[in-house]
Amino acid sequence: MWSTRQRIAHWLIHAGVGVGVLAGGFFIFNHIKEAADKSVAGIAVWSVASLAFLFCATIGFWYAFLGVNQHWESTRMLRPITTEARQVMLALCRISQANRTAGRSIPLMNCVAVIGLIGAFLLKDARWLGIVVMIVDLRWWLWVRTTTPPFVLFLSTSEAMSVERHHRLKLSISPLRAVSLLDVGINTDADTAGSLNLDCLRTEEDEDWWKVIVLLIELAPIVVINADAESPGVIREATHLVAEDITFKTIFLSNRDAPLLRQVSDAIAAEAGHCIASNYRLDQILALALNRGLKPSRERPISSFL
């Protein structure tokens, strides 16, 4: 599903980190003899400090690359990303379960950065700045990761299969964002739940749920709704999409005959213009949109992509 541009970015990230690690290792190897004192303990301390610097700097650059990659790709697909859209995403992150990861990690990062600065200034050793570099890069990545509007909004009931589907969507359009309001804590393995931490904007307060749905539908260029689900929540979401005439950017994901549409109205279900897609067809549509940089519009609805 990745575009050529994405593949190149992916390989550049790996190559950049690899070259950085090799160069750092070579530098340490070359300078190990010039350690402050020639005792075994002195050389050991110098080596550990240098390796720690290399480790922190590598992690930092890795995340900086990830942030830049997501920023560029999202800007290419969603342009323009307004400041207001970023503010909305930040607000949604704050009121959702994503804040358990994002919100709590920021004070921790600040404290670790202060430790790095204390080390650099008091010990007069620039290697401590590796920690600061890592934290600055992590903060940048986290900012991009949490404030970038989604490319795909996935609406479904909170079942293990839906969480798995969201996870596959996220991987297939990475580094663009696919967000949902699913409860990832339900029957999901820890790895999948962990990787969706920042993309499941499930609200802490039930009363926020609908407001967040409406905002995300407005922001996301593509809405994927599980049309095999028939829960009251999903029916309300589908009714909103139809009533507000947002079906031009909606993919009704169904491996049957989209029973959700019949729940909305028989007349709506009988209309031919809706984009009803199986998992396979959904992947094809998204691949096409990514490769050609397409966004659905009223003039060019998503049903016309294939």
């Binding site: 503010q87 802490e204 926020d208």
Partner: protein
């Protein structure tokens, strides 16, 4: 994605079961409280660095241990008990209900927040906790357990934020 005006004013603060919105002051003190917890855990590293810079290796070890002990004191003073923050907090409420005085930092945080845990409040919170724990032992499904914990959370917050 341009030209829209998004209304965020009607969103909640993202804290579940809150009887009212946090004031700016409460929000800031909560952040300060979180930083206190972090400093109590990570302060020994900074202490070790400062100790090494001033007195060498001996200073490093001495100050790191000193800051570790200070961290433990801070955690005790701020009212944190045990490794589990959830049960630890209710443990502290039980201590306060039984007449224990607020720790220095605990008192300071409550003063700054403008919201004191009186003995009556602590008793009500402890009673709600005991009821919830008894119900939890009898609960058989995950949904039941979640409902009990949600009730406990609501009741705790209702009592905590009452005058």
């Amino acid at each position: 994605m341009s030209g829209h005006k998004f209304d965020l004013s009607n969103l909640s603060e993202g804290i579940s079961n809150m009887p009212r919105r946090l004031t700016r002051r409460e929000w800031m003190v909560d952040h300060f409280f979180y930083y206190l917890q972090l400093v109590s855990k990570l302060g020994f590293i900074a202490g070790g660095i400062v100790g090494y810079a001033v007195w060498g290796w001996i200073g490093c070890v001495a100050l790191a241990i000193g800051c570790l002990l200070l961290g433990m004191l801070i955690r005790r003073s701020v009212g944190l008990r045990g490794p589990d923050p959830f049960h630890g907090w209710y443990r502290r409420m039980r201590e306060r209900a039984e007449g224990s005085q607020a720790g220095l930092l605990e008192w300071m945080v409550e003063r700054l927040r403008g919201n004191t845990f009186t003995r009556a409040k602590c008793r009500a919170i402890t009673a709600a906790y005991d009821t919830a724990m008894a119900e939890l032992r009898l609960a058989t499904s995950r949904e039941q357990q979640q409902a009990i914990l949600k009730r406990l959370d609501s009741e705790t917050k209702r009592v905590s934020y009452s005058d």
